[in-house]
């Protein structure tokens, strides 16, 4: 279906990534946000708080991130599209409810504008060090989707995608921004509402008698009902059967947890978005994501000016990890160079997926700034020699 025009601020704007993310959420149909202030993400909900009463919806500032991350899920079961926004310390507090959303298959979006950590770390400076937390932060086996925008325009475009994927797969989607992307101001073009594709809730059309709240329907994504519609369904974070009833057996656990994984893994080809440039014939491919891909772009240009054969692979989807793409590229190149604003997180995934077919070179950065193009260039030059 097309976007509701009430939420779409069609036009050309000069705004930062945080503001663009908010507009993306509104365009996607988000009419509920619960938040707790935290730098460098607060602008997203500040804008939402100003915009949403004129669009028809609710913002509530909760008492902490534990509350925010579950309040939004209550809103989803009440019928809204909902999200929350935070940064590292708040993201840590939200882990409990990422697990709850995964287990109860509550479609929602968690925006994490990453800053330096651990702990309070660098409140106003960037990092990309929550990438593994986004994937594994809550306990137990589960799958999520994580997207990494590298510009304010993408903060708009990909926020819509994040909501769409959340609805399609009934899964929490992590929107992994970083401080630079969040605070960088650039041109953002917001198209007309009828040019924006929005995925509606996978709402059941079955009768009360026929409805099975956690029936797998063949495509592994159950149909949803909302409170107040007469279905009298039960939702629990306990291991549950297709009726949604708790069932403490290894068989039910196996069936449920495998479905929660497989509904994402089996669709990985569709979920994994990436951008590639000059990979054919390259000796070295720089694998990057988020703000680091902007620096990598410059480094790749500089390397090409020196006559080096360098390709670029930008991961737009971080989770599920696009291992098929890496496995396809690795045998064709000498090395995969992975700059990221952490001391080595996604690089390990790249190394795993490359299966020894190409050398994997990390370019770690502890955060607080971004790489210099020279740092990445030097690594490319070094890797080209081997």
């Amino acid at each position: 279906m097309k976007a509701d025009p009430h939420g779409v601020l069609t036009g050309t704007h000069f705004i930062d990534g945080d503001h663009a993310c908010c507009e993306g959420a509104l365009a996607a149909g988000a009419r509920f946000a619960a938040g707790y202030p935290i730098t460098p993400s607060t602008e997203v909900v500040e804008r939402f708080a100003a915009r949403v009463p004129t669009v028809g919806g609710t913002f509530i500032q909760m008492e902490d991130e534990l509350a925010a991350s579950i309040t939004l899920q209550g809103a989803v079961w009440g019928g809204a599209k909902a999200f929350t926004v935070t940064s590292g310390p708040g993201f840590s507090l939200m882990m409990e409810h990422i697990g709850y959303a995964a287990m109860t298959e509550t479609p929602c979006v968690f925006v994490d504008v990453q800053r330096g950590g651990p702990s309070t770390g660098l409140p106003t400076l960037p990092a990309q060090a929550d990438m593994m937390q986004a994937r594994w932060g809550s306990h137990g086996d589960y799958e999520i989707i994580a997207l990494c925008p590298n510009s304010p325009q993408e903060c708009f475009d990909l926020t819509i995608k994040a909501f769409n994927m959340a609805e399609e797969f009934r899964v929490p989607v992590m929107f992994m921004m970083d401080e630079v992307v969040g605070h960088m101001t650039e041109k953002v073009v917001i198209p007309a509402a009828d040019e924006i594709e929005v995925v509606p809730r996978k709402h059941t059309r079955k009768s009360v008698e026929d409805y099975l709240p956690y029936g797998s329907n063949g495509d592994m994504v159950p149909e949803m009902a909302h409170a107040g519609e007469g279905y009298k369904f039960h939702v629990t974070g306990l291991t549950h059967d297709e009726r949604g009833y708790p069932n403490m057996t290894p068989q039910t656990q196996d069936k449920l947890v495998r479905r929660l994984q497989n509904k994402i893994r089996s669709a990985a080809d569709r979920i994994c978005l990436f951008e590639e440039d000059g990979i054919e014939g390259a000796d070295v491919v720089v694998v990057s994501y988020g703000i680091t891909s902007r620096v990598a772009q410059r480094a790749v240009q500089m390397a090409r000016e020196r006559g080096l054969k360098v390709g670029k692979l930008r991961l737009i989807t971080a989770w599920p990890f696009p291992e098929k793409k890496i496995a396809e590229v690795a045998p064709k190149v000498k090395a995969l160079v992975v700059p990221e604003l952490n001391l080595g997180q996604m690089v390990r995934e790249v190394e795993r997926a490359a299966q020894g077919k190409a050398k994997t070179v990390a370019i770690p950065h502890a955060g607080g700034g971004v790489h210099s193009p020279d740092q990445i260039l030097n690594a490319i030059v070094e890797a080209s020699r081997c």
């Binding site: 009463p53 609710t58 209550g74 019928g79 107040g228 009298k232």
Partner: protein, 292 residues
């Protein structure tokens, strides 16, 4: 009041998920009794069951959500109130009941409890207070009276307990009552009254845990506890909540302590937006915005 003619069917059965019986509660536990009173309040107050949602946290009382035939949510530990807040705000037509235990609501969920009361979110909170953490084996809770023996205070508790009616009144609740599981009719009446209130209502139900609290404290079985509740309870409507704290063996003040009116969160929100935004304020989301 009750208009049930068929005596072969338990009048509360239509409110229960019979296919989930037997329940997990111990013999002598009071939680089932509170559910009975709750169901009777639903009958008495003629609440539309399709517009009623029930949210629980974690613990013995947290299992109530799984046994009632309503849209029911068994959430995470301590977070029933914020979940219920989102549910209510996204669909204001819902009647939202939070049904959970003392540890869930006042320890791990204590922050949410006071803030929901402060905001005066239109929620009906039923807090079954068995004075300990029961599901995990009888550990000390913020509600455990001084000198009681628990699994984590084997030599007796010494930290002061929360007086829950006092806490929620101070935080802003519009309706505060307390009963014991001996007072089944009074409890049902209080729940019915709470449904008539707009705003944050809090009903505390003192309830036995014969397995872990009464046994450890040599207070007898479930029946002995009923006798204790009968003898030691004193109805004190309107009592200052500062004076209704509980002790190990002392009097249990019961009754309706607070019944007042102040605007609930959504009324205040609407009023503020109308004042600031005038016609630019759009109250209801577009109906077709989510469901295809």
């Amino acid at each position: 009041m009750l208009n049930i003619v068929d005596n072969t069917v338990n009048p509360v059965e239509p409110f229960l998920r019979s296919d989930r019986m037997p329940h997990i509660w111990c013999p002598g536990c009071g939680i089932g009794t509170t559910v009975n009173s709750f169901a009777r309040a639903l009958i008495d107050s003629k609440i539309d069951l399709e517009s009623l949602a029930l949210v629980s946290g974690i613990g013995c009382t947290g299992r109530v959500a799984g046994y009632v035939k309503l849209d029911s949510f068994h959430t995470t530990h301590g977070r029933a109130i914020p979940f219920a807040t989102g549910l209510k705000l996204a669909n204001p037509k819902l009647n939202v009941v939070v049904y959970s235990g003392d540890g869930d609501l006042s320890a791990i969920g204590g922050n949410h409890l006071i803030h929901a009361a402060r905001r005066n979110i239109d929620l009906k909170v039923i807090c079954v207070n068995n004075l300990i953490y029961a599901m995990t084996g009888g550990q000390t809770a913020p509600t455990t009276p001084g000198h009681a023996t628990t699994s984590t205070n084997p030599y007796g508790t010494f930290e002061p307990a929360f007086n829950l009616p006092h806490l929620v009144e101070a935080a802003g609740a519009v309706y505060v009552a307390r009963w014991t599981t001996f007072h089944v009719r009074q409890l049902a009446r209080s729940i019915s009254e709470a449904f008539q209130k707009k705003g944050f209502s809090f009903i505390e139900v003192i309830s036995p845990c014969p397995t872990l609290y009464q046994r450890r404290n040599k207070m007898g079985d479930g029946l002995d506890t009923m006798k204790y509740y009968k003898e030691k309870s004193k109805v004190k409507h309107g009592a200052p909540t500062s004076e209704v704290g509980l002790t190990l063996n002392g009097e249990i003040a019961v009754g309706k302590f607070v019944d007042r009116d102040r605007p609930d969160y959504q009324s205040m929100m609407r009023a503020q937006y109308v004042e600031s935004l005038g016609e630019r304020y759009i109250e209801e989301p577009e109906a077709e915005c989510v469901c295809g």
